[in-house]
């Protein structure tokens, strides 16, 4: 795969800031959903965003990709204010319930990936055959080689989720943001899915931020945690989080946690 996904971690300038959230406040015509959020994601980070229901995790993710505009504060993507940012192909976003497809939508796996390739202008000046190779490559990366002609509606939830990851990878993103990607799929599928994200982060240096309830499943792959409850309760290294007061609060909230040692 081209540049971004073949760089090894050593070659990456890890200090480069991919996303920066600065004093963000947000409300939907009512009480504050997010209050004074400051957050920074460095290149090759794997960040888990956790917190109770209604804590503003999804809202914050949507603010980071420009789908919602904060009432106050600023977001920077690759050092550029989000209003001026234009290189959206660098940012892959996978929304919540992305796999709850319209049951009749007649789209093949190949069409899902190709439509995003053309839309992201990645197809400009490419030799013939490039598109097919690219589709093949990203499907292999997510473990779905040979699925090109399958209809999306005939795949399982876990497989559909992998196709969406493949679609995101095809545009060569530098950061991937996912909103509760494994809702509604079984435990084994969830674990495999997070292993795949871990591999993309570890082997290819892809920066990842994931909103999740499955902290126990994701924690063996991540290096950063952001714990939200309207305010940012904790933001920092995963290892330190386990000793923090915010972590104990989370446990008391009934989160199901299985800790994995690094």
């Amino acid at each position: 795969m081209a540049s971004k996904l073949i760089e090894t971690q050593d070659e990456l300038d890890k200090s480069k800031e991919v996303i920066k959230v600065e004093s963000v406040y947000f409300s939907y015509d009512g009480p504050l959903i997010l209050e004074d959020i400051n957050l920074s994601i460095q290149r090759a980070d794997f960040l888990a965003m956790i917190g109770p229901n209604g804590s503003g995790k999804t809202t914050l993710l949507k603010i980071m990709v420009g789908l919602l505009k904060p009432q106050a504060g600023q977001v920077f993507l690759f050092g550029q204010g989000i209003e001026e940012f234009e290189d959206w192909y660098k940012v892959a976003y996978i929304q919540q319930n992305a796999t709850h497809l319209e049951s009749k939508f007649p789209i093949t796996v190949e069409e899902v990936i190709t439509s995003s390739l053309y839309a992201s202008r990645q197809m400009k000046d490419r030799p013939t055959g490039w598109r097919k190779e690219r589709v093949e490559h990203v499907l292999r990366l997510v473990g779905l080689a040979g699925y090109q002609k399958r209809l999306m509606t005939t795949l399982s939830g876990g497989q559909q989720q992998r196709v969406l990851i493949a679609r995101a990878l095809a545009a060569e993103p530098e950061v991937m943001l996912l909103d509760e990607p494994t809702t509604g799929v079984d435990h084994q599928t969830q674990e495999n899915f997070y292993d795949l994200l871990g591999k993309l982060n570890h082997d290819y240096g892809l920066t990842i931020a994931v909103v999740t309830h499955d902290y126990g499943l994701v924690n063996k792959h991540i290096n950063q945690v952001a714990c939200l409850n309207r305010k940012l309760i904790y933001h920092g290294r995963h290892e330190e989080f386990c000793q923090s007061a915010a972590f104990k609060e989370l446990l008391a909230d009934g989160h199901h946690l299985v800790m994995h040692q690094h």
Binding site: A98, F105, S115, A119
Partner: protein
């Protein structure tokens, strides 16, 4: 009888205008259904009818007046959906009844064009003039070209709107293009099948294609073919048997739809 048909200018004009419109309807319909926007052509057709009435009152090309009113109305629907935060079909219901009320009001101003207006209510493809044929061909070609030129972006946003938005697809411009194209298609369809049946033209062939298709591209091709088949055969039937063309076209579309549903069920039960 048949040789009379083949040398008739009316007949060929109808076939020519009809087949271009059929392809435009077939393509557009797939996007409308999958965007859950099937009723938009119904709402717009009522407004288009008001445009025709206005054209007749002003004594100025009704098709052009209708086109202008309908395009403005289509943009208004988008605004209404956004600003009044209404579900799409509520905005359409308001528009449809508003359009019809306007048409009735305009008709009451001058009662003497009732017969002409009937042609737009029930469609009268065999009465289509050569200017209208050219207008239909140009506009239907425009619809087809714009859909094909934006094919990947339209597919992306229809399948996954939010992600397309983040990926930089110009979703709101494409929304506008799609409703404007629908408005144009509806006005053209008004002449051929009439107000009461025009929404069938955009929805039924696409619904039939959705039963069989194994990919999105195939859905578009099948939908256009079904639409083409229904319109051509409908015109031939109506000319040969002296039936209303609009009713023949819609009956044939629904016939194709039922056949695809039946065929699909048969195939599934044979598999079991």
């Amino acid at each position: 009888m048949l040789s009379g048909v083949l040398t008739s200018g009316f007949f060929w004009r109808a076939i020519l205008a009809g087949s271009f419109l059929a392809v435009a309807c077939g393509l557009l319909g797939v996007f409308l259904i999958l965007r859950q926007d099937s009723m938009i052509s119904h709402g717009l057709s009522h407004l288009a009818f008001a445009g025709i009435a206005l054209g007749l009152v002003l004594n100025f090309l009704p098709l052009i007046v209708s086109l202008i009113i309908c395009v403005i109305g289509s943009i208004f629907i988008l605004k209404l959906k956004k600003q009044a935060s209404l579900p799409g079909d509520a905005a359409l219901a308001i528009l449809a009844s508003g359009g019809m009320a306007l048409a009735i009001f305009l008709v009451s101003l001058r009662m003497n064009f009732g017969v002409e207006l009937m042609g737009y209510l029930f469609g009268d493809i065999l009465a289509i003039s050569s200017v209208e044929v050219w207008l239909s061909i140009i506009l239907a070609l425009m619809v087809t070209i714009l859909i094909l030129a934006n094919y990947h972006q339209l597919l992306y946003m229809t399948f996954d709107r939010e992600t397309a938005l983040v990926a930089g697809v110009k979703v709101s411009s494409l929304d506008k293009i799609l409703v404007i194209l629908t408005a144009i298609t509806v006005v053209l369809g008004l002449r051929i099948v009439g107000l009461l049946l025009v929404s069938a033209l955009t929805v039924v062939p696409a619904a039939a294609a959705l039963q069989l298709a194994r990919s999105f591209r195939q859905t578009l091709v099948l939908s256009s073919l079904f639409s083409l088949l229904a319109i051509m055969a409908g015109i031939v039937l109506s000319y040969a048997l002296d039936l209303p063309a609009s009713a023949s076209i819609v009956f044939l579309s629904i016939g194709i739809f039922l056949a695809t549903v039946g065929g699909k069920n048969l195939a599934t039960s044979l598999k079991k």
